[in-house]
Every structure is written in C-alpha cells, then in structure tokens.
Symmetry: C3
Subunit: 138 residues, 3 copies
C-alpha cells in the first residue's frame, strides 16, 4: 500500500518548527499499520531534522551554531544575487536533510520519546513550503 | 512485504561502532530478496553513518574532527543542564543521520566493499539505544 | 512493486554533478506511478545532495565551503596513507548523504522546480561510481 499527500507549511520566521502533528495526520489517513513514512521538502533553502522536542533552548543553540558554521556575508561566497541569507541557506540544507524517513509502527510515527520532526527554515522572509509525505507498508 | 524489528545496541564508549552484522541479520530474517532496509535511531544524541570499514584510523579522525566542529563547553550553548556532552551530541546528530537506507540486493544489504553501517554514540556515559529496522520489498 | 537497477557514473573532476536525468530514466523504466525512489552510493569518498539546479555559482560555493570545513592536510588527521584528499572525502561524505530518497509522483521524480540530484565527488582522481537505484510503489 502507498499513500501520498502534499502538505503546505510556513514557518513564522527562520528556525526550527515542529511539524510532527501534520505528518502524523497523514500517517493516520493512510491506514497503514507497519512500514515507513518518507517526508520530502521540495526546496533547497530549508531542511528537515529530527531533534529533541523538550527544551526549546536546544533548538535555539542548533540555530545559532549552524549560523556560525555557515554565516551570512562570508567573503567566500560568489552566489550573492538572491540576498545574504540565500547561500547560507543552501549550505545549511546540504549538511542537514532534504528528507527524513520515519518507521510506521502500529499505525503511528515510530519516533522516540524525545524526538520531534522539524522544518528548519533558513530564509528570513519565509514562504509557503511544500512537503510530500509518502507512507508505504501494510 | 514489510518486516520490522527493534534492535537494542549499546556502544562501549563514545565513537563509531559497526552494527552491520545485526542489521544484516534482520534482513536475512525478513526473507526479502530485493528492496530496501531502513534503519532508524529513536534518539537525538547519537546518530548513524555509513563509512569506511577498513582502517580504524579513519573512524578516529571522524570522531576528532566532529568533536572539534561541535566542541564541549562552547560559550554559544545555552542548553547546558544535561551536561557538557549533551548539546554537542544534538549538533553532531543534526549534521549526520538519524536514519540510513540501504538497498537489499539478493537478500543482503547492498553495501559497497568498503562500506559499513556505524552507530555513532555522542554521549560519554553510553546507554542502550533502540534501532527500528524496517525491510520492504519482494 | 519494486524495481532495482545499478548505474555507473563518473564525475569529470571533484565537485557536484547533476545525475537527475539518469535516475529519472530508471524511474520511467520501473513503470511505478506513485511511491519512492531511493538512490544509494556504494562508496565512502563521494556523496549525494539535492541542491539548486539553476546557478552554477551556488555549487562552486558549496564545494569551496565544504573544502574549508574539511580541508586537506589538516594536522588532526592520522588516516593519511591513501592521499591528502582521502580523509577529507570521508568527512565530507559523513556530513552530506550516502543516499537520497525522492518521492515518485505520476511516474516521475517529485523534485521541486529548483531541485536537482547531484553526485558530489570528493576525490581529485575520479573513478567510476556505482549507484543502486531502488524504486518502490504502485
């Protein structure tokens, strides 16, 4: 069985935003009990990560650390026409993930207790992002 | 066909530990000949990578390089309540992988000659880690 | 339905090379309309990323940025017997991706308008690389 749906999400600002609930909803609709859920972002300036869902300070540190690793206005960049946050967004996407796979166990996302699925928006002016969720299994 | 099993693994210390054999065992049990094997860690302070299985010095360099990239006691961190190795563990997980997918070819993991699947434990005090292995195919 | 094929690709030099067309071909051959396409590299010194397919300057910046992050001849390295570009290649692979999953929508790769799938060759002397493409769905 294969169930596929496109979701639209928009982050209020740059940073990590929990999208576990929307994806869980797509898994429930699929009626699939055992298998895998693939979540794919159709963009190159935002990404996905599975991270701690408890203390927001961890997400803030992730954002600040990655911003230091791939900063704006680095003299190394030649791709600057789309604004100072564009090339950093591509770099931050390259070292995180365009898609994540999560097992489906007894009809639900098989995340650990402390795991959440996050959209990581890397642009300052956010826009609507398309997520393709594909659930496969039995 | 879908086969799903939960494995428990514990690394003896922080670093990379080869878990290819345990996962290969789950693939053999599935009887699936052609498809995909998804390995998912239900944690946010350890990760998975596929890396060279020959010379242990490569794994040592990986560990040292990532420790320099996301060091302990960085003044940037605000998430410090769970110990000096907790926030580095989340960062190191974010830039590596919570899950890996490996093709199943003729009933076996389709890894290249020099590839092994590694649990990368990022905490000093290790604990038992849960891995969900989902094998799908025909 | 499961369709699996092995492709061979060789980059002309180190850097990012668009392999979307070859993978799209494998999806077309599969006749699968809705599902997922898994692309797996059987190597540990090259990797995959999904990145902007428009302006080549973005790929040049990716290459230069990652080369700075994991440079050649870093005194940290002990794994040096296979040449100065070998250990950087493993590190660059660890923080990007050995495999990528892309949804299959109406018989085609469900990439966004600006997304392309790239082989990222990290060695200077390139060689033929094996890609296992597994398409699953209905």
């Amino acid at each position: 069985m294969t169930h596929q749906v496109t979701l639209q999400v928009q982050a209020p600002r740059s940073g990590l935003f929990n999208i576990t609930e929307q994806v869980q909803q797509a898994v429930a609709e699929s009626k699939i009990q055992c298998g895998m859920c693939h979540v794919f972002l159709q963009h190159t300036s935002c990404s996905l990560v599975i991270q701690e869902n408890a203390d927001p300070s961890a997400r803030q540190d992730l954002e600040n650390w990655l911003a230091r690793l791939a900063p704006e206005n680095d003299p190394l960049y030649t791709h600057t026409l789309e604004g100072p946050d564009d090339m950093p967004a591509h770099l931050r996407t390259a070292v995180t993930h365009t898609s994540e796979n999560i097992p489906v166990i007894q009809g639900k996302l098989g995340l650990g207790t402390w795991q959440g699925l996050y959209l990581w928006e890397h642009r300052h002016h956010t826009s609507r992002r398309q997520l393709v969720v594909t659930v496969m299994g039995t």
